[in-house]
Amino acid sequence: MTTDPSPAPGVAPVLVIGVGSPVRGDDGVGPIVAARVAERLGEAAGIDAGVGAGVEVRLLDGEPARIVEAWTGRDLVVLVDAVCRGEAPGSLVRLEIAEDSVFAPARTPSTHAGGVDDAIALGRVLQRLPGRLIIVGVEPGDMSVGAGLSPAVAEAVPQLEESVLAELHEVRA
Protein backbone atom coordinates (compact mmCIF):
# COMPACT_ATOMS: atom_id res chain seq x y z
CA MET A 1 0.00 0.00 0.00
CA THR A 2 2.72 2.38 0.95
CA THR A 3 6.25 2.36 2.16
CA ASP A 4 6.20 5.86 3.57
CA PRO A 5 7.66 6.40 6.10
CA SER A 6 10.40 3.81 5.71
CA PRO A 7 10.76 1.10 8.31
CA ALA A 8 13.40 1.83 10.89
CA PRO A 9 16.49 -0.34 10.59
CA GLY A 10 16.15 -3.52 12.60
CA VAL A 11 12.35 -3.50 12.49
CA ALA A 12 11.00 -6.97 11.78
CA PRO A 13 9.13 -6.99 8.46
CA VAL A 14 6.37 -9.16 9.90
CA LEU A 15 4.37 -8.20 12.97
CA VAL A 16 1.73 -10.07 14.95
CA ILE A 17 -0.42 -7.81 17.12
CA GLY A 18 -2.71 -9.07 19.88
CA VAL A 19 -5.24 -6.35 20.68
CA GLY A 20 -7.37 -6.22 23.80
CA SER A 21 -7.57 -5.89 27.54
CA PRO A 22 -6.70 -8.91 29.65
CA VAL A 23 -9.13 -7.84 32.39
CA ARG A 24 -12.25 -7.67 30.26
CA GLY A 25 -13.26 -11.23 29.61
CA ASP A 26 -13.26 -12.21 25.95
CA ASP A 27 -11.70 -8.87 25.02
CA GLY A 28 -8.45 -10.41 26.27
CA VAL A 29 -8.40 -13.08 23.56
CA GLY A 30 -6.10 -11.11 21.21
CA PRO A 31 -3.20 -10.81 23.68
CA ILE A 32 -3.69 -14.43 24.81
CA VAL A 33 -3.44 -15.77 21.25
CA ALA A 34 -0.53 -13.46 20.37
CA ALA A 35 1.39 -14.57 23.47
CA ARG A 36 0.91 -18.21 22.45
CA VAL A 37 2.11 -17.41 18.95
CA ALA A 38 5.17 -15.68 20.42
CA GLU A 39 5.93 -18.78 22.46
CA ARG A 40 5.65 -21.03 19.43
CA LEU A 41 7.82 -18.74 17.30
CA GLY A 42 10.33 -18.41 20.12
CA GLU A 43 10.58 -22.18 20.43
CA ALA A 44 10.99 -22.53 16.69
CA ALA A 45 13.74 -19.95 16.62
CA GLY A 46 15.36 -21.22 19.77
CA ILE A 47 14.90 -17.93 21.57
CA ASP A 48 12.45 -16.76 24.19
CA ALA A 49 11.89 -13.13 23.23
CA GLY A 50 8.83 -13.91 21.17
CA VAL A 51 10.61 -12.89 18.03
CA GLY A 52 11.12 -15.56 15.44
CA ALA A 53 13.17 -14.93 12.33
CA GLY A 54 11.90 -11.61 11.04
CA VAL A 55 8.68 -11.79 13.05
CA GLU A 56 7.84 -9.60 16.02
CA VAL A 57 4.89 -9.99 18.39
CA ARG A 58 3.31 -7.04 20.20
CA LEU A 59 0.45 -6.88 22.69
CA LEU A 60 -1.52 -3.63 22.43
CA ASP A 61 -4.57 -2.21 24.17
CA GLY A 62 -6.36 -0.98 21.06
CA GLU A 63 -5.44 2.69 21.21
CA PRO A 64 -5.34 3.58 17.47
CA ALA A 65 -2.20 5.75 17.44
CA ARG A 66 -0.21 2.98 19.14
CA ILE A 67 -1.41 0.48 16.56
CA VAL A 68 -0.45 2.79 13.68
CA GLU A 69 2.94 3.41 15.28
CA ALA A 70 3.52 -0.34 15.68
CA TRP A 71 2.64 -1.37 12.14
CA THR A 72 4.24 1.52 10.25
CA GLY A 73 6.73 0.22 7.69
CA ARG A 74 5.91 -3.50 8.11
CA ASP A 75 5.43 -5.79 5.13
CA LEU A 76 2.80 -7.97 6.79
CA VAL A 77 0.73 -7.49 9.91
CA VAL A 78 -1.51 -10.19 11.36
CA LEU A 79 -3.76 -8.68 13.99
CA VAL A 80 -5.72 -10.83 16.44
CA ASP A 81 -8.75 -9.30 18.09
CA ALA A 82 -12.24 -9.90 19.39
CA VAL A 83 -14.54 -8.80 16.58
CA CYS A 84 -18.24 -8.15 17.17
CA ARG A 85 -20.34 -9.08 14.15
CA GLY A 86 -23.42 -10.36 15.91
CA GLU A 87 -22.59 -14.02 15.33
CA ALA A 88 -22.38 -16.87 17.83
CA PRO A 89 -19.59 -16.42 20.40
CA GLY A 90 -16.47 -18.28 19.27
CA SER A 91 -17.19 -17.79 15.53
CA LEU A 92 -13.99 -17.09 13.62
CA VAL A 93 -13.47 -14.43 10.99
CA ARG A 94 -10.59 -13.58 8.67
CA LEU A 95 -10.48 -10.15 7.05
CA GLU A 96 -7.86 -8.86 4.69
CA ILE A 97 -7.97 -5.08 4.57
CA ALA A 98 -8.18 -4.33 0.88
CA GLU A 99 -5.76 -1.97 -0.79
CA ASP A 100 -8.36 -0.20 -2.89
CA SER A 101 -10.83 0.62 -0.14
CA VAL A 102 -9.25 3.92 0.78
CA PHE A 103 -11.84 6.10 2.53
CA ALA A 104 -14.50 3.47 1.99
CA PRO A 105 -16.47 2.87 5.15
CA ALA A 106 -14.77 -0.49 5.58
CA ARG A 107 -14.80 -0.13 9.33
CA THR A 108 -13.76 -3.28 11.06
CA PRO A 109 -16.00 -3.87 14.00
CA SER A 110 -13.81 -4.26 17.03
CA THR A 111 -14.37 -4.16 20.74
CA HIS A 112 -12.24 -1.17 21.59
CA ALA A 113 -13.21 2.44 21.94
CA GLY A 114 -11.70 3.93 18.83
CA GLY A 115 -9.80 0.75 18.15
CA VAL A 116 -8.65 -1.16 15.12
CA ASP A 117 -11.10 0.47 12.75
CA ASP A 118 -9.82 3.93 13.68
CA ALA A 119 -6.24 2.68 13.36
CA ILE A 120 -7.00 1.53 9.81
CA ALA A 121 -8.63 4.83 8.91
CA LEU A 122 -5.78 6.80 10.47
CA GLY A 123 -3.19 4.57 8.80
CA ARG A 124 -4.80 5.20 5.42
CA VAL A 125 -4.93 8.93 5.81
CA LEU A 126 -1.33 9.12 7.03
CA GLN A 127 -0.17 6.57 4.44
CA ARG A 128 1.02 4.39 7.24
CA LEU A 129 -0.70 1.09 6.57
CA PRO A 130 1.44 -2.01 6.39
CA GLY A 131 2.00 -3.75 3.05
CA ARG A 132 -0.61 -6.37 3.95
CA LEU A 133 -3.00 -6.30 6.88
CA ILE A 134 -4.86 -9.42 7.92
CA ILE A 135 -7.27 -9.51 10.84
CA VAL A 136 -7.88 -12.82 12.53
CA GLY A 137 -10.88 -12.40 14.80
CA VAL A 138 -13.30 -14.22 17.01
CA GLU A 139 -16.80 -13.24 18.09
CA PRO A 140 -16.73 -12.48 21.83
CA GLY A 141 -19.39 -13.51 24.33
CA ASP A 142 -18.78 -12.03 27.76
CA MET A 143 -16.65 -8.88 28.02
CA SER A 144 -17.39 -7.85 31.56
CA VAL A 145 -14.55 -6.70 33.79
CA GLY A 146 -12.97 -9.56 35.69
CA ALA A 147 -14.47 -12.35 33.63
CA GLY A 148 -12.04 -14.82 32.06
CA LEU A 149 -12.52 -16.13 28.54
CA SER A 150 -15.97 -17.57 27.99
CA PRO A 151 -16.01 -21.30 27.11
CA ALA A 152 -16.79 -20.76 23.41
CA VAL A 153 -13.95 -18.27 22.97
CA ALA A 154 -11.49 -20.32 25.06
CA GLU A 155 -12.25 -23.26 22.81
CA ALA A 156 -11.41 -21.17 19.74
CA VAL A 157 -7.97 -20.14 21.02
CA PRO A 158 -5.94 -23.07 19.56
CA GLN A 159 -7.60 -22.57 16.17
CA LEU A 160 -6.89 -18.84 16.26
CA GLU A 161 -3.27 -19.58 17.08
CA GLU A 162 -3.01 -21.97 14.12
CA SER A 163 -4.67 -19.41 11.83
CA VAL A 164 -2.10 -16.78 12.73
CA LEU A 165 0.79 -19.21 12.25
CA ALA A 166 -0.67 -20.27 8.90
CA GLU A 167 -0.68 -16.66 7.70
CA LEU A 168 2.97 -16.38 8.71
CA HIS A 169 3.94 -19.66 7.06
CA GLU A 170 2.19 -18.71 3.87
CA VAL A 171 4.24 -15.57 3.51
CA ARG A 172 7.48 -17.37 4.29
CA ALA A 173 6.81 -20.24 1.91
Partner: protein
Protein backbone atom coordinates in the same frame (compact mmCIF):
# COMPACT_ATOMS: atom_id res chain seq x y z
CA UNK B 1 -24.10 0.43 19.60
CA UNK B 2 -27.66 -0.53 20.29
CA UNK B 3 -30.10 1.63 22.08
CA UNK B 4 -33.61 0.99 23.19
CA UNK B 5 -36.07 3.82 22.89
CA UNK B 6 -38.51 3.67 25.75
CA UNK B 7 -40.97 6.51 25.53
CA UNK B 8 -38.39 9.25 25.71
CA UNK B 9 -36.68 10.55 22.61
CA UNK B 10 -33.62 8.43 22.15
CA UNK B 11 -30.54 8.75 20.01
CA UNK B 12 -27.80 6.28 19.46
CA UNK B 13 -24.15 6.85 18.72
CA UNK B 14 -22.21 5.67 15.69
CA UNK B 15 -23.38 2.15 14.98
CA UNK B 16 -20.17 0.44 15.95
CA UNK B 17 -20.35 -2.76 17.90
CA UNK B 18 -18.47 -2.37 21.12
CA UNK B 19 -18.57 -2.90 24.84
CA UNK B 20 -21.96 -1.93 26.14
CA UNK B 21 -22.25 0.68 28.82
CA UNK B 22 -18.91 2.31 28.11
CA UNK B 23 -20.39 5.74 28.29
CA UNK B 24 -23.93 6.93 28.68
CA UNK B 25 -25.47 10.31 29.21
CA UNK B 26 -29.05 11.02 30.02
CA UNK B 27 -30.62 14.44 29.85
CA UNK B 28 -34.14 15.07 31.07
CA UNK B 29 -35.94 18.21 29.96
CA UNK B 30 -39.34 19.29 31.28
CA UNK B 31 -41.15 22.40 30.04
CA UNK B 32 -37.99 23.78 28.50
CA UNK B 33 -35.92 23.32 31.65
CA UNK B 34 -33.24 20.77 32.44
CA UNK B 35 -34.35 18.69 35.41
CA UNK B 36 -31.67 16.01 35.35
CA UNK B 37 -28.26 15.24 33.80
CA UNK B 38 -26.63 11.90 34.41
CA UNK B 39 -23.28 10.81 33.06
CA UNK B 40 -22.02 7.28 33.34
CA UNK B 41 -18.49 6.56 32.21
CA UNK B 42 -17.09 3.10 32.49
CA UNK B 43 -14.64 2.85 35.36
CA UNK B 44 -13.09 -0.39 36.49
CA UNK B 45 -11.35 0.54 39.79
CA UNK B 46 -14.27 -0.72 41.89
CA UNK B 47 -13.69 -4.22 40.58
CA UNK B 48 -9.97 -3.96 41.29
CA UNK B 49 -10.47 -2.93 44.92
CA UNK B 50 -12.21 -6.22 45.56
CA UNK B 51 -9.78 -8.17 43.41
CA UNK B 52 -6.81 -6.87 45.45
CA UNK B 53 -8.03 -8.09 48.82
CA UNK B 54 -6.03 -11.11 49.95
CA UNK B 55 -3.23 -10.48 47.43
CA UNK B 56 0.40 -10.03 48.48
CA UNK B 57 1.56 -6.52 49.40
CA UNK B 58 3.79 -6.28 46.32
CA UNK B 59 1.00 -7.15 43.88
CA UNK B 60 -1.10 -3.94 43.61
CA UNK B 61 1.69 -2.30 41.59
CA UNK B 62 1.26 -4.74 38.72
CA UNK B 63 -2.44 -5.40 39.11
CA UNK B 64 -3.61 -1.76 39.23
CA UNK B 65 -1.40 -0.90 36.23
CA UNK B 66 -3.91 -2.90 34.20
CA UNK B 67 -6.81 -0.61 35.09
CA UNK B 68 -5.92 1.79 32.29
CA UNK B 69 -3.80 1.37 29.18
CA UNK B 70 -3.30 5.13 28.97
CA UNK B 71 -2.14 5.81 32.52
CA UNK B 72 -0.57 2.64 33.98
CA UNK B 73 2.36 4.59 35.45
CA UNK B 74 0.01 6.72 37.54
CA UNK B 75 -1.55 3.60 39.03
CA UNK B 76 1.89 2.12 39.67
CA UNK B 77 3.21 5.29 41.30
CA UNK B 78 0.21 5.81 43.59
CA UNK B 79 0.27 2.11 44.52
CA UNK B 80 4.02 2.14 45.25
CA UNK B 81 3.88 5.27 47.38
CA UNK B 82 0.86 4.01 49.34
CA UNK B 83 2.46 0.64 50.09
CA UNK B 84 5.82 2.18 50.92
CA UNK B 85 3.96 4.54 53.27
CA UNK B 86 2.27 1.54 54.93
CA UNK B 87 5.53 -0.30 55.54
CA UNK B 88 7.53 2.79 56.47
CA UNK B 89 9.91 3.01 53.49
CA UNK B 90 10.93 6.17 51.65
CA UNK B 91 12.15 6.01 48.06
CA UNK B 92 14.21 9.05 47.19
CA UNK B 93 17.38 10.11 45.38
CA UNK B 94 18.06 8.54 42.00
CA UNK B 95 15.20 6.06 42.30
CA UNK B 96 12.68 8.85 42.83
CA UNK B 97 14.25 10.67 39.88
CA UNK B 98 13.78 7.62 37.70
CA UNK B 99 10.12 7.48 38.76
CA UNK B 100 9.77 11.12 37.70
CA UNK B 101 11.30 10.30 34.33
CA UNK B 102 8.86 7.44 33.82
CA UNK B 103 5.94 9.65 34.84
CA UNK B 104 7.08 12.30 32.31
CA UNK B 105 6.77 9.67 29.58
CA UNK B 106 3.18 8.99 30.57
CA UNK B 107 2.21 12.68 30.76
CA UNK B 108 3.68 13.24 27.30
CA UNK B 109 1.97 10.24 25.76
CA UNK B 110 -1.41 10.76 27.39
CA UNK B 111 -1.56 14.51 26.79
CA UNK B 112 -0.34 14.17 23.18
CA UNK B 113 -3.13 11.66 22.61
CA UNK B 114 -5.79 13.89 24.13
CA UNK B 115 -4.61 17.09 22.45
CA UNK B 116 -4.30 15.71 18.92
CA UNK B 117 -6.70 12.81 18.72
CA UNK B 118 -9.56 13.91 20.95
CA UNK B 119 -9.56 17.60 21.72
CA UNK B 120 -8.08 19.53 18.76
CA UNK B 121 -10.59 18.19 16.20
CA UNK B 122 -13.36 19.77 18.33
CA UNK B 123 -11.88 23.25 17.90
CA UNK B 124 -11.08 22.86 14.23
CA UNK B 125 -14.46 21.58 13.15
CA UNK B 126 -13.49 17.97 12.48
CA UNK B 127 -15.33 14.94 13.79
CA UNK B 128 -12.08 13.07 14.44
CA UNK B 129 -8.30 13.18 14.13
CA UNK B 130 -8.72 11.09 11.01
CA UNK B 131 -10.62 13.84 9.20
CA UNK B 132 -8.16 16.38 10.58
CA UNK B 133 -5.26 14.33 9.21
CA UNK B 134 -6.89 14.21 5.79
CA UNK B 135 -6.69 18.01 5.66
CA UNK B 136 -3.59 18.70 7.74
CA UNK B 137 -1.44 15.61 7.86
CA UNK B 138 1.55 17.46 9.28
CA UNK B 139 -0.05 18.44 12.60
CA UNK B 140 -1.26 14.91 13.24
CA UNK B 141 2.14 13.48 12.31
CA UNK B 142 3.74 15.95 14.72
CA UNK B 143 1.35 14.80 17.45
CA UNK B 144 2.18 11.19 16.73
CA UNK B 145 5.88 11.97 16.94
CA UNK B 146 5.54 13.73 20.30
CA UNK B 147 3.52 10.79 21.56
CA UNK B 148 6.06 8.29 20.22
CA UNK B 149 8.92 10.00 22.05
CA UNK B 150 6.93 9.90 25.30
CA UNK B 151 6.42 6.24 24.60
CA UNK B 152 10.16 5.76 24.22
CA UNK B 153 10.64 6.82 27.85
CA UNK B 154 8.18 4.13 28.91
CA UNK B 155 10.03 1.55 26.82
CA UNK B 156 13.51 2.51 28.04
CA UNK B 157 12.66 3.01 31.73
CA UNK B 158 9.48 0.99 32.12
CA UNK B 159 10.54 -2.01 30.11
CA UNK B 160 7.60 -1.64 27.74
CA UNK B 161 5.02 0.92 26.76
CA UNK B 162 1.80 -0.55 28.07
CA UNK B 163 1.71 -1.82 31.64
CA UNK B 164 5.41 -1.20 32.35
CA UNK B 165 7.00 -4.25 33.93
CA UNK B 166 10.11 -2.71 35.45
CA UNK B 167 8.41 -0.99 38.41
CA UNK B 168 8.22 -2.54 41.87
CA UNK B 169 7.58 -1.51 45.45
CA UNK B 170 10.83 0.11 46.62
CA UNK B 171 12.01 1.13 43.15
CA UNK B 172 12.74 -0.83 39.99
CA UNK B 173 13.86 -4.28 38.91
CA UNK B 174 16.63 -2.72 36.87
CA UNK B 175 17.97 0.83 36.52
CA UNK B 176 19.31 2.10 33.19
CA UNK B 177 22.93 3.05 32.59
CA UNK B 178 23.92 6.57 31.53
CA UNK B 179 24.76 5.13 28.15
CA UNK B 180 21.28 3.68 27.75
CA UNK B 181 19.72 7.06 28.49
CA UNK B 182 21.90 9.01 26.05
CA UNK B 183 20.01 8.19 22.82
CA UNK B 184 16.76 8.87 24.65
CA UNK B 185 18.01 12.33 25.61
CA UNK B 186 18.57 13.21 21.95
CA UNK B 187 15.01 12.20 21.14
CA UNK B 188 13.68 14.23 24.08
CA UNK B 189 15.43 17.36 22.78
CA UNK B 190 13.60 16.91 19.50
CA UNK B 191 10.35 16.26 21.39
CA UNK B 192 10.80 19.46 23.36
CA UNK B 193 11.09 21.49 20.15
CA UNK B 194 7.93 19.92 18.74
CA UNK B 195 6.06 20.37 22.02
CA UNK B 196 6.73 24.11 22.01
CA UNK B 197 5.29 24.24 18.48
CA UNK B 198 2.20 22.39 19.72
CA UNK B 199 1.59 25.03 22.42
CA UNK B 200 1.77 27.72 19.76
CA UNK B 201 -0.64 25.76 17.56
CA UNK B 202 -3.35 25.17 20.18
CA UNK B 203 -3.07 28.72 21.54
CA UNK B 204 -4.42 29.91 18.19
CA UNK B 205 -7.73 28.06 18.53
CA UNK B 206 -10.97 29.91 19.23
CA UNK B 207 -12.11 29.37 22.79
CA UNK B 208 -15.66 29.93 23.99
CA UNK B 209 -15.90 31.99 27.17
CA UNK B 210 -16.58 29.89 30.22
CA UNK B 211 -15.39 29.78 33.80
CA UNK B 212 -15.78 26.89 36.19
CA UNK B 213 -16.72 27.94 39.68
CA UNK B 214 -15.70 24.82 41.56
CA UNK B 215 -12.93 24.13 44.07
CA UNK B 216 -9.56 23.28 42.46
CA UNK B 217 -7.72 20.36 44.09
CA UNK B 218 -4.16 19.26 43.29
CA UNK B 219 -1.27 17.40 44.81
CA UNK B 220 1.37 19.62 46.37
CA UNK B 221 5.13 19.64 46.40
CA UNK B 222 7.25 22.48 47.80
CA UNK B 223 9.47 22.88 44.73
CA UNK B 224 8.12 20.72 41.90
CA UNK B 225 5.17 21.05 39.55
CA UNK B 226 3.60 17.96 41.10
CA UNK B 227 3.81 14.48 39.67
CA UNK B 228 5.02 12.61 42.76
CA UNK B 229 3.82 14.29 45.95
CA UNK B 230 2.43 13.55 49.39
CA UNK B 231 0.19 16.49 50.18
CA UNK B 232 -3.08 17.77 48.75
CA UNK B 233 -4.18 21.41 48.50
CA UNK B 234 -7.11 23.41 47.18
CA UNK B 235 -7.94 27.06 46.56
CA UNK B 236 -10.51 26.95 49.36
CA UNK B 237 -8.33 26.03 52.27
CA UNK B 238 -7.67 22.32 51.90
CA UNK B 239 -4.05 21.61 52.91
CA UNK B 240 -3.68 18.02 54.05
CA UNK B 241 -1.28 15.11 54.10
CA UNK B 242 -2.23 12.14 51.92
CA UNK B 243 -3.02 10.26 55.15
CA UNK B 244 -5.80 12.74 55.94
CA UNK B 245 -7.57 12.19 52.61
CA UNK B 246 -10.50 10.19 53.95
CA UNK B 247 -11.12 12.83 56.65
CA UNK B 248 -11.79 15.45 53.99
CA UNK B 249 -12.83 13.74 50.77
CA UNK B 250 -15.93 11.62 50.65
CA UNK B 251 -16.87 9.12 47.99
CA UNK B 252 -20.55 8.57 47.47
CA UNK B 253 -22.79 6.35 45.45
CA UNK B 254 -25.16 7.70 42.82
CA UNK B 255 -27.94 5.53 41.46
CA UNK B 256 -27.12 6.07 37.78
CA UNK B 257 -23.46 5.04 37.84
CA UNK B 258 -21.39 2.10 38.98
CA UNK B 259 -18.54 4.54 39.68
CA UNK B 260 -18.45 6.35 43.00
CA UNK B 261 -18.40 10.13 42.84
CA UNK B 262 -16.36 12.29 45.21
CA UNK B 263 -16.75 15.59 47.05
CA UNK B 264 -14.88 17.67 49.56
CA UNK B 265 -16.73 16.87 52.79
CA UNK B 266 -17.11 20.46 53.92
CA UNK B 267 -18.01 21.97 50.55
CA UNK B 268 -18.91 19.68 47.68
CA UNK B 269 -17.82 19.19 44.08
CA UNK B 270 -14.29 19.93 42.94
CA UNK B 271 -11.96 19.62 39.98
CA UNK B 272 -8.63 17.80 39.63
CA UNK B 273 -6.39 17.79 36.55
CA UNK B 274 -4.35 20.23 34.45
CA UNK B 275 -6.41 23.36 35.27
CA UNK B 276 -6.14 22.71 39.02
CA UNK B 277 -2.44 21.82 38.83
CA UNK B 278 -1.65 24.88 36.78
CA UNK B 279 -3.69 27.16 39.06
CA UNK B 280 -1.66 26.08 42.08
CA UNK B 281 1.75 25.50 40.59
CA UNK B 282 2.21 27.67 37.46
CA UNK B 283 5.28 29.30 39.01
CA UNK B 284 6.99 25.89 39.27
CA UNK B 285 6.88 25.17 35.53
CA UNK B 286 10.27 24.54 33.91
CA UNK B 287 11.69 27.54 31.98
CA UNK B 288 10.67 26.63 28.42
CA UNK B 289 7.20 25.60 29.62
CA UNK B 290 6.78 28.89 31.49
CA UNK B 291 7.92 30.77 28.38
CA UNK B 292 5.55 28.82 26.14
CA UNK B 293 2.68 29.52 28.55
CA UNK B 294 3.45 33.22 28.53
CA UNK B 295 3.75 33.36 24.73
CA UNK B 296 0.46 31.49 24.47
CA UNK B 297 -1.25 34.12 26.61
CA UNK B 298 -2.14 31.57 29.25
CA UNK B 299 -3.25 33.38 32.37
CA UNK B 300 -1.66 32.21 35.67
CA UNK B 301 -5.04 30.94 36.79
CA UNK B 302 -7.13 29.61 33.93
CA UNK B 303 -10.49 28.00 34.77
CA UNK B 304 -11.90 27.86 31.26
CA UNK B 305 -12.25 24.13 30.57
CA UNK B 306 -11.86 24.68 26.81
CA UNK B 307 -8.44 26.24 27.40
CA UNK B 308 -7.28 23.14 29.26
CA UNK B 309 -5.82 22.08 25.90
CA UNK B 310 -3.25 24.88 26.27
CA UNK B 311 -2.42 23.79 29.80
CA UNK B 312 -1.95 20.20 28.63
CA UNK B 313 0.35 21.36 25.84
CA UNK B 314 2.37 23.43 28.33
CA UNK B 315 2.57 20.41 30.65
CA UNK B 316 3.99 18.37 27.76
CA UNK B 317 6.78 20.93 27.38
CA UNK B 318 7.35 20.79 31.14
CA UNK B 319 7.51 16.99 31.06
CA UNK B 320 10.11 17.01 28.28
CA UNK B 321 12.25 19.50 30.19
CA UNK B 322 11.90 17.56 33.43
CA UNK B 323 12.84 14.33 31.67
CA UNK B 324 15.94 15.91 30.11
CA UNK B 325 16.94 17.38 33.49
CA UNK B 326 16.63 13.97 35.15
CA UNK B 327 18.86 12.40 32.50
CA UNK B 328 21.41 15.20 32.86
CA UNK B 329 21.57 14.63 36.63
CA UNK B 330 21.56 10.85 36.31
CA UNK B 331 24.08 8.89 38.31
CA UNK B 332 23.21 5.24 38.23
CA UNK B 333 22.55 4.06 41.78
CA UNK B 334 24.25 0.96 43.13
CA UNK B 335 20.90 -0.67 43.80
CA UNK B 336 17.69 -0.74 41.75
CA UNK B 337 15.33 -0.79 44.73
CA UNK B 338 15.36 -0.29 48.47
CA UNK B 339 14.45 -3.41 50.45
CA UNK B 340 10.82 -3.49 51.50
CA UNK B 341 9.64 -5.89 54.18
CA UNK B 342 5.93 -6.21 54.91
CA UNK B 343 4.47 -5.08 58.19
CA UNK B 344 0.88 -4.53 59.19
CA UNK B 345 -0.35 -0.99 58.66
CA UNK B 346 -2.19 1.49 56.50
CA UNK B 347 -0.61 3.59 53.75
CA UNK B 348 -1.75 6.39 51.47
CA UNK B 349 -0.44 7.53 48.11
CA UNK B 350 -1.30 10.58 46.00
CA UNK B 351 0.30 11.30 42.66
CA UNK B 352 -0.80 13.33 39.65
CA UNK B 353 -2.01 11.19 36.77
CA UNK B 354 -2.16 13.13 33.48
CA UNK B 355 -5.90 13.65 33.99
CA UNK B 356 -5.66 14.49 37.68
CA UNK B 357 -4.94 13.41 41.21
CA UNK B 358 -5.03 9.67 41.86
CA UNK B 359 -5.37 8.46 45.46
CA UNK B 360 -4.63 4.92 46.69
CA UNK B 361 -5.00 3.54 50.22
CA UNK B 362 -3.95 0.05 51.29
CA UNK B 363 -4.30 -1.79 54.55
CA UNK B 364 -1.75 -4.59 54.98
CA UNK B 365 -2.43 -7.39 57.46
CA UNK B 366 -0.09 -9.47 59.68
CA UNK B 367 0.55 -11.92 56.85
CA UNK B 368 1.62 -9.19 54.41
CA UNK B 369 -1.63 -9.46 52.47
CA UNK B 370 -3.89 -6.63 51.32
CA UNK B 371 -6.77 -6.43 53.80
CA UNK B 372 -8.42 -3.42 52.19
CA UNK B 373 -7.88 -1.25 49.11
CA UNK B 374 -9.34 2.13 48.14
CA UNK B 375 -8.64 3.63 44.71
CA UNK B 376 -10.02 7.08 43.89
CA UNK B 377 -9.32 7.86 40.22
CA UNK B 378 -9.44 11.40 38.80
CA UNK B 379 -12.49 10.76 36.66
CA UNK B 380 -14.77 9.87 39.57
CA UNK B 381 -13.56 12.96 41.41
CA UNK B 382 -14.39 15.13 38.42
CA UNK B 383 -17.67 13.49 37.57
CA UNK B 384 -19.95 15.78 39.65
CA UNK B 385 -18.21 18.80 38.13
CA UNK B 386 -18.58 17.40 34.61
CA UNK B 387 -22.31 16.76 35.22
CA UNK B 388 -22.70 20.28 36.55
CA UNK B 389 -20.87 21.66 33.52
CA UNK B 390 -23.14 19.62 31.23
CA UNK B 391 -26.23 20.82 33.04
CA UNK B 392 -25.33 24.45 32.39
CA UNK B 393 -24.42 23.70 28.81
CA UNK B 394 -27.70 21.94 28.05
CA UNK B 395 -29.74 24.62 29.79
CA UNK B 396 -28.06 27.32 27.72
CA UNK B 397 -28.50 25.36 24.48
CA UNK B 398 -31.83 23.68 25.01
CA UNK B 399 -33.14 24.55 21.55
CA UNK B 400 -30.40 22.73 19.64
CA UNK B 401 -31.52 19.61 17.84
CA UNK B 402 -30.52 16.35 19.49
CA UNK B 403 -27.59 15.62 17.17
CA UNK B 404 -25.96 18.99 17.71
CA UNK B 405 -26.74 18.79 21.41
CA UNK B 406 -24.96 15.46 21.61
CA UNK B 407 -21.96 16.64 19.61
CA UNK B 408 -21.47 19.66 21.82
CA UNK B 409 -22.16 17.73 25.01
CA UNK B 410 -19.35 15.38 24.00
CA UNK B 411 -17.07 18.37 23.56
CA UNK B 412 -18.02 19.57 27.04
CA UNK B 413 -17.06 16.18 28.46
CA UNK B 414 -13.84 15.92 26.44
CA UNK B 415 -12.67 19.22 27.94
CA UNK B 416 -12.16 17.28 31.16
CA UNK B 417 -10.30 14.34 29.61
CA UNK B 418 -12.15 11.68 31.58
CA UNK B 419 -10.46 8.31 31.90
CA UNK B 420 -10.86 6.46 28.63
CA UNK B 421 -11.61 9.75 26.95
CA UNK B 422 -12.34 7.88 23.81
CA UNK B 423 -15.48 6.58 25.54
CA UNK B 424 -17.01 9.99 25.03
CA UNK B 425 -17.07 9.28 21.32
CA UNK B 426 -19.46 6.47 22.07
CA UNK B 427 -21.87 8.26 24.32
CA UNK B 428 -25.26 6.70 24.32
CA UNK B 429 -27.21 9.91 24.67
CA UNK B 430 -30.83 9.99 25.68
CA UNK B 431 -32.66 13.28 25.54
CA UNK B 432 -36.01 12.99 27.25
CA UNK B 433 -38.17 15.96 26.33
CA UNK B 434 -41.48 14.29 27.08
Amino acid sequence: MTHKATGSRALSSDALARVEGEGAMRVEIRDGRVVDVQLNIYEPPRFFEGFLRGRGYTEPVDITARICGICPVAYQMSACTAIEDAVGVTVDGALRELRLLLYCGEWIESHALHIHFLHAPDFLGFDSAISLAAVDRAVVERGLEVKRIGNRILEVVGGRAIHPVNVKVGGFFRVPTTRELEPLRAELERGLELAVQVVDWVAGFDFPDQELGCELVAADHPTEYPMLADRVISDRGLDIAAAEWLDHIEEFQVPHSTALHARVLERGEYLVGPLARHHHHAEKLAPAAARAARDAGLEPSCVNPFRSIIVRAVEVVHAFETAIAVIDRWVRPAFAAVPVAPRPGVGHGVTEAPRGLLYHRYEIDDAGLIADAVIVPPTSQNQPTIEHDLWHFVEANIDLDDDELRRRAEVTIRNHDPCISCATHFLDLTVDRS
